[in-house]
C-alpha cells in the first residue's frame, strides 16, 4: 500500500478544510479532475477489453456456430455480428451508443442491458454486503491490534490476517462448502433463484459473502494496522500519550482520524478485488450475478457482453474510488 506511506505525517485533522470558499472551489476542481481521469481510465479499459477479445483465438461467430456450418454461413454470421468491420469501428460504435444507456447486443441477439438486469443487482448486493462487513471487521481488528502494539493479540491478528489474505477465494469457498454445508448441513450449498430473480433465501448469501470477506478483511486489517502504526509516531499522537490520555482515547481521537485517508484508499481498492473475486465465488456457489455472465461471455468471445459487464463493474469501482478521494480531500484539504 503505497498510499500509506504517501500520506505521511499529518497534523490534527479537520482543521476546516472546506471552510474557505477559495479552497472549496479548488477542491471541486481537483475532484472534477479526478473524476475525469477515472472516466478516461474506464474508456482505456474498455478499449483494452475490445483488443483483448480480438487477440484471443476464435471469435463470437465461431463460438456460436453449429458443427458442420459452411464457411459461407460463418461469414454471414460474422457480417451479422459486425465482426467483419475493423476493431476501432466496432469500439467506436459501442462507445457512441453508451451515453444513451445502450450497451449493445450480445452475440446471441439479446440486449446486454436485459441480460444484466437481474445479475447486476445480485452482484451489487453480494459485493456491497461483503464490502460493508470487510470495512467493519478490518477496522475492529486493526484497532484492536493497534491498541496492543507488539503484544500477543497484535501478533495473532497480524499473522491471521496475512494468512487470510494469502488464501485465494476458491480455496476459502471449497473449505466453507465442506464444513458449513456438506458435512454439517447448516447452510445451503448453492444459490437457488426464485421467480423474482433473487436468491430464494438470504442464508444462501452467507457463504459467498464469507468467501469474499475473509481474504479482503485480511488485507484491510493489515492496512488499518499499518496506517495506525504510521500515525502512532506523529508528534501530536506522542504528545497525546505524554499528556496521559487513555489509550483508546488516543487511538480513536488522535491516531484514527489521521489514518482515515490511507484506510479509505485501501478499502476502495478492495472493491475491485471484490468484483474480481465475485467471478470465482459466484461460479462456485451458483450465485446468479454478473460474474457467471462474464465467465460465459468470455468463453463465447461475446465482446459487447464482456464490455457491458466491465463498464457496470468499472463504474461502481470508480464511484467508490472517487468517494475515497473525497474523503482524502476532506481530511487532508489541498495537501492531498
Amino acid at each position: 500500500m503505497s498510499q500509506t506511506a504517501k500520506t505521511g505525517p499529518v497534523a490534527a485533522p479537520g482543521t476546516g478544510a472546506a471552510t474557505d470558499p477559495r479552497r472549496a472551489a479548488h477542491i471541486a476542481v481537483r475532484i472534477a479532475g479526478t473524476a475525469g481521469r477515472r472516466i478516461l481510465m474506464l474508456i482505456v479499459l474498455l478499449a483494452m477489453v475490445f483488443a483483448a477479445v480480438e487477440i484471443l483465438p476464435g471469435d463470437a461467430a465461431g463460438a456460436s456456430a453449429e458443427r458442420g456450418e459452411s464457411a459461407a454461413d460463418l461469414a454471414a454470421r460474422r457480417h451479422l455480428l459486425g465482426l467483419d468491420r475493423p476493431l476501432w469501428a466496432r469500439f467506436a460504435h459501442w462507445m457512441t451508443a453508451l451515453p444513451t444507456g445502450d450497451l449493445g447486443t450480445s452475440a446471441r441477439g439479446q440486449k446486454v442491458t436485459e441480460l444484466l438486469a437481474d445479475p447486476l443487482p445480485n452482484t451489487l448486493v453480494l459485493a456491497m454486503t461483503a464490502f460493508a462487513i470487510t470495512v467493519v471487521l478490518s477496522l475492529l481488528l486493526g484497532c484492536w491490534a493497534a491498541a496492543r502494539p507488539g503484544r500477543p493479540t497484535d501478533r495473532i491478528i497480524s499473522h491471521t490476517s496475512t494468512a487470510a489474505f494469502a488464501v485465494p477465494e476458491f480455496v476459502v469457498s471449497a473449505a466453507l462448502l465442506l464444513v458449513l454445508s456438506l458435512w454439517t448441513g447448516w447452510l445451503p450449498a448453492v444459490t437457488v433463484t426464485g421467480g423474482d430473480g433473487k436468491p430464494a433465501s438470504w442464508t444462501m448469501l452467507i457463504m459467498p459473502v464469507l468467501a469474499l470477506v475473509i481474504p479482503q478483511a485480511g488485507w484491510n486489517t493489515r492496512v488499518v494496522r499499518g496506517a495506525l502504526a504510521d500515525q502512532a509516531s506523529t508528534p501530536h499522537v506522542e504528545a497525546a500519550h505524554l499528556d496521559g490520555l487513555p489509550l483508546h482515547h488516543v487511538l480513536l481521537r488522535h491516531q484514527l482520524p489521521g489514518a482515515v485517508p490511507a484506510i479509505a484508499t485501501g478499502m476502495a481498492t478492495s472493491t475491485g478485488l471484490l468484483f474480481g473475486g465475485a467471478v470465482v465465488v459466484e461460479t462456485l456457489f451458483n450465485y446468479p450475478g454478473i460474474g457467471s455472465v462474464l465467465a460465459g461471455a468470455v468463453a463465447a468471445r461475446d465482446t459487447p457482453l464482456i464490455a457491458g459487464v466491465v463498464i457496470c463493474a468499472g463504474a461502481v469501482v470508480s464511484l467508490v474510488l472517487l468517494a475515497a478521494d473525497l474523503i482524502r480531500y476532506a481530511v487532508l484539504g489541498a495537501r492531498a
Binding site: 483465438p57 476464435g58 458442420g68 433463484t193 457467471s292 455472465v293 465467465a295 463465447a300
Partner: protein, 519 residues
C-alpha cells in the same frame, strides 16, 4: 463452448439418405417405448415437485424453441413445454409424440404425419395441421434450418385436412422421421417473436415462470400423451457440474441432469443418492485421415492403430469407468448395431507387423490434435499416445483452442480427436461422416465397398435385406474406416433416492421427465 458444440450434434442431423423403409408407422400411444429406469418399480404416486439441475450459462440463455440452444437447461425447459413430432425411443430409435403415426410414399420422398388425437395447446385450443406446418416452416427458415430439416424446402411443407401434415423431400429420405426428434417443437400458428417467451406449448408441463435461466413448470392435466404424475418441475441452471452435484448432495435439488463422471465418483459412496448411467451417450473417436498423402492412408496402419489401443484402460482412466468398450463402429446405441462382430483387442505384435508391412515410418513423431471441448477428450489423446509408445509409435498430443480446431483441423487434419452426441443410429454416421460424398466426412474416407453397402441398406424395401446390408456396412467400417472408436461414455445423472422412473436413454433422451414420480 462445449455445450454449444455438443448441442449441434443433434441439431445438424443432415442426412442425404436415399432409401427405403416404405412405411414406418408408429403406434398410437405416447412414450411407452421411451423406456425409463430408476429405483424399485411400483405403482406411481401422484404429486410432488421435482427439482432439477441442468447445465447452462447466463450469457447463452435462449427462449426460442427453434433457436440454437447452447444451454441444456433451456433445452430441458423447452422440451417439457413444447412437443416435437417424434422423440427418441428404446426399441426403435424414433417413436411417436405429437405425431401419432407417419407413413411415406413408395419413393420415400413424401412423408405424412398424423397429429395425435386430443392434442391441445396449454390455452385449450386444439393443435391443427396448420400450426404444425407453420412451426416446421419457421424452423426451416432459421439459420440452421437446412441442417435441421435436411432436403426439405419450406414451400414443400403443407397441411392436408385438419390433422395431417405433408412434407415433401427433395430426395428419397428413409430417415426423415428421425430428423424430427429434437427440434420440431410446435407452437401456435402466427406466434410473434415477441410473444415466444410466453407462447403456449402442447407438452406435459406448462410454464409457470421463467427468469434468468431458471423456471417453474406445472403439470398439464390435458396432456394427450398419458398421465403425468408430478405436480411441478423446478429447473435450476448451473454453471458447473461441481456446483450442481453439491446442490444434490446438500438436498437442494432432486436430480442433477448430465452431471458427469467426476460428480458420480463423489456421489458413489452416498447411499441416499442414485447414480444413473445412460449408456452410449458420447462417442470420442480418434480420426485418421484415409486420403492419399496422410500417414494413415494405408489401411494396415489404421488397423495397427486400432490394435495398439488398450480399450479397457481407456474406459477406466478417461471415463473413470463410466462407459463401455467399443468396437470401432459408430452408432453403438442402434437397435441394429452389429453385436456379432468380434470385439477387437489389444495386439501389439500384430500391430508392429502390420506397421512393418506398410513401411510405416517409426522414426517420425506424429501429431494428434485434440481440444478440451468436452471432459476427457484431451485425456483420451494423451493416454492413447502413451499406449502407442509401447508399440514404438511416437505421438505428440497437440491441444488446440476450440474455435481454431473446428475451423482448421476438423475434416482436414491427418490425426485428431472428434466427438459425437447422437449415437443411436448406424446409418446416421454412415450417411453423415463415412459415405464418400458425406458433407462431414471427417476422415476423408472413400471406400467403394462401403458406399455400395450403404446404398443397398437405404434402398432395400425388404427389412431382411436392409439388415443384411447394414451388417456388411458395419463389418467394412470395423475393418478399414478412418475411425478408432475405443469406447463410449455413459451419460450420468444423479438423483435423490425418492425419484423414480428416470430417463435412461442416451443424449437428449435425458429430458424425458414426463414419466417421473416421487416416492
Amino acid at each position: 463452448m462445449g455445450v454449444t458444440r455438443r448441442q449441434l450434434l443433434w441439431a445438424g442431423t443432415g442426412i442425404g439418405a436415399a432409401g427405403i423403409l416404405a412405411a414406418c408407422s408408429g403406434g398410437s400411444g405416447n412414450s411407452k417405448d421411451t423406456a425409463a429406469s430408476g429405483g424399485t418399480p411400483g405403482k406411481p404416486r401422484a404429486g410432488g415437485t421435482l427439482r432439477v439441475g441442468a447445465l447452462g450459462h447466463a450469457s447463452a440463455i435462449t427462449r426460442d424453441p427453434h433457436g440454437t440452444q447452447a444451454n441444456e437447461s433451456d433445452y430441458l425447459i423447452l422440451a417439457l413445454v413444447f412437443d416435437t413430432l417424434t422423440v427418441p425411443g428404446a426399441k426403435s430409435n424414433t417413436v411417436p409424440r405429437l405425431a401419432a403415426s407417419w407413413e411415406s410414399s413408395a419413393d420415400l420422398k413424401t412423408w405424412k404425419f398424423k397429429i395425435a388425437k386430443g392434442a391441445v395447446f396449454h390455452d385449450g385450443t386444439p393443435v391443427t395441421a396448420e400450426d404444425v406446418v407453420w412451426s416446421l416452416k419457421r424452423l426451416r427458415n432459421t439459420p440452421s434450418g437446412a441442417a435441421r430439416l435436411p432436403g426439405i424446402q419450406a414451400k414443400n411443407i403443407r397441411a392436408q385436412g385438419a390433422d395431417t401434415v405433408v412434407v415433401v423431400s427433395d430426395y428419397a429420405n428413409a430417415e426423415f422421421p428421425l430428423m424430427t426428434r429434437f427440434a420440431s417443437f410446435v407452437m401456435k400458428k402466427d406466434t410473434k417473436d415477441s410473444a415466444i417467451a410466453k407462447a403456449p406449448g402442447t407438452g406435459p408441463f406448462k410454464l409457470d415462470w421463467f427468469r434468468g435461466g431458471n423456471a417453474r413448470l406445472v403439470r398439464n392435466d390435458k396432456w394427450y400423451g398419458g398421465t403425468v404424475h408430478l405436480d411441478a418441475i423446478e429447473v435450476t441452471m448451473f454453471e458447473t457440474p461441481q456446483a450442481m452435484a453439491n446442490a444434490l448432495l446438500a438436498g437442494q435439488i432432486d436430480l442433477a441432469s448430465n452431471a458427469g463422471a467426476l460428480a458420480a465418483r463423489t456421489a458413489e459412496s452416498r447411499k441416499d443418492v442414485q447414480v444413473l448411467r445412460r449408456p452410449n451417450d458420447m462417442a470420442m473417436p480418434i480420426v485418421m485421415r484415409t486420403a492419399k498423402g496422410s500417414p494413415f492412408a494405408d489401411e494396415r496402419v489404421r488397423e495397427a492403430m486400432r490394435l495398439v489401443v488398450d480399450r479397457e484402460a481407456m474406459v477406466k482412466q478417461v471415463l473413470s469407468g463410466y462407459g463401455t468398450v467399443a468396437n470401432d463402429i459408430l452408432g453403438t446405441g442402434d437397435p441394429e448395431y452389429a453385436k456379432a462382430i468380434p470385439q477387437r483387442k489389444r495386439d501389439l505384435a500384430k500391430a508392429k507387423k502390420l506397421l512393418k508391412d506398410a513401411n510405416f515410418d517409426l522414426s517420425k513423431t506424429y501429431e494428434l490434435v485434440t481440444t478440451e471441448d468436452i471432459s476427457g477428450l484431451a485425456d483420451s489423446a494423451t493416454l492413447f499416445a502413451n499406449q502407442a509408445r509401447e508399440a514404438g509409435i511416437k505421438i505428440k498430443v497437440v491441444k488446440q483452442e476450440s474455435g481454431a480446431f473446428w475451423e482448421k483441423t476438423w475434416k482436414s487434419g491427418d490425426f485428431y480427436t472428434s466427438y459425437w452426441g447422437t449415437n443411436d443410429s448406424v446409418i446416421f454416421f454412415a450417411s453423415k461422416t463415412m459415405v464418400s460424398e458425406a458433407g462431414q466426412n471427417e476422415a476423408g474416407w472413400a471406400d467403394a465397398g462401403f458406399d455400395a453397402a450403404y446404398r443397398k441398406a437405404i434402398s432395400s424395401a425388404d427389412p431382411k435385406k436392409r439388415t443384411a446390408a447394414l451388417k456388411d456396412l458395419q463389418q467394412i467400417e470395423h475393418d478399414r474406416s478412418g475411425y478408432l472408436l475405443w469406447g463410449m461414455a455413459d451419460g450420468i445423472d444423479l438423483a435423490a433416492a425418492k425419484v423414480q422412473n428416470l430417463p435412461k436413454l442416451a443424449g437428449y433422451g435425458r429430458v424425458q421427465l414426463e414419466g417421473v414420480w416421487l416416492r
